[in-house]
Amino acid sequence: MEGNKLQRQAACMRNALFDQGYLDEQFIQLEDLQDEANPNFVEEVVKLFYSDSARFIRNIDLTLNNSPSDFVKLDNIMHQFKGSSSSIGAKKVKQRCTQFQEYCKIGNFEGCMRTFQEVKQEHAALKKKIESYLQVARQAR
């Protein structure tokens, strides 16, 4: 593919991520921190997010399997997960994290279970889209 086409494709994919609400303006902050001296900053942060958040997901899964539910612990783990999501601009993931925390606060186990599935879904959906975008953006450079 010509460089031009790749750049247009990358721009298109990037716009879609914002338009469809997957990313918010915090992602632009990350992009602004990328330069010639740090050409892969965005990719590095995203990779770090996914390796780090796998840990949170595992811990929440384990904690949800314990009975009785430790809602304080669940809320604490999710607080950290939400923080990381917020730092990379993962808008939909962050929204689901907030919902999960709300169910924790009222001790609603069913709500937690359901919302956690949604967190995982959004987390996985973003991963696919953002990795595809970053790959094309890299090729287009």
């Binding site: 900053f41 590095e44 942060v45 770090l48 607080h79 950290q80 923080g83 917020s86 601009g89």
Partner: protein, 178 residues
């Protein structure tokens, strides 16, 4: 002159972010992942050990008078173990470290938390995710800190009434909950 900032955060993502943000301002950056490690780096833990342990190793006492100079400390609030507020308090209670400006970061906009930190001597309170515009606010605090070093008998200044010394952004934060 180059300023040296110590950043403290238990989140690996936020550590990477704050490091990069600080480096864009050409600051020298040291990043640690806990309040305990921050205290060790600042030599405070050695202080306590040296004071309580009568047969303390001379080397650990020498370590108190560290060559490392820190011009500003920026720390997350929510951390396991010693949180940002405790770290702030220990720094302000230390004769050697109390003049180092401290900035707190938090993902939660809780007015009482913000006010407590500012009352305890924090220069700024940044809401996460921290942005470039936040980091740009550090310069005056760093400049002021450098000035104080040249006055060894500097007396702790009386704090002005809160409203007088808050920047517009902080006032905005303070009144958000009304």
């Amino acid at each position: 002159m180059q300023f040296h900032v110590l950043a403290v955060d238990d989140s690996v993502i936020d550590r990477k972010l704050i490091e990069r943000l600080l480096k864009t301002s050409s600051y020298q950056v040291t990043v640690v992942d806990s309040g305990v490690k921050a205290l060790e780096y600042l030599g405070l833990v050695d202080d306590e050990i040296a004071n309580t342990n009568t047969d303390s190793n001379p080397i650990s006492t020498i370590k108190n008078h560290h060559e490392v100079e820190v011009n500003l400390i920026i720390t997350d609030y929510c951390m396991p173990g010693i949180n940002g507020y405790d770290l702030l308090r220990k720094i302000k209670e230390s004769t050697t470290l109390k003049n180092i400006p401290v900035v707190i970061m938090s993902s939660e906009n809780i007015p009482s938390r913000i006010n407590n930190c500012l009352e305890q001597g924090a220069e700024e309170f940044f809401l996460k995710p921290v942005k470039q515009s936040d980091v740009n606010k550090l310069k005056p605090h760093l400049m002021r800190g450098k000035g104080k070093e040249n006055q060894p008998n500097f007396v702790v200044n009386k704090r002005k009434p809160m409203a007088e010394c808050l920047s517009p952004d902080r006032i905005r934060t303070k009144y958000n909950y009304i």
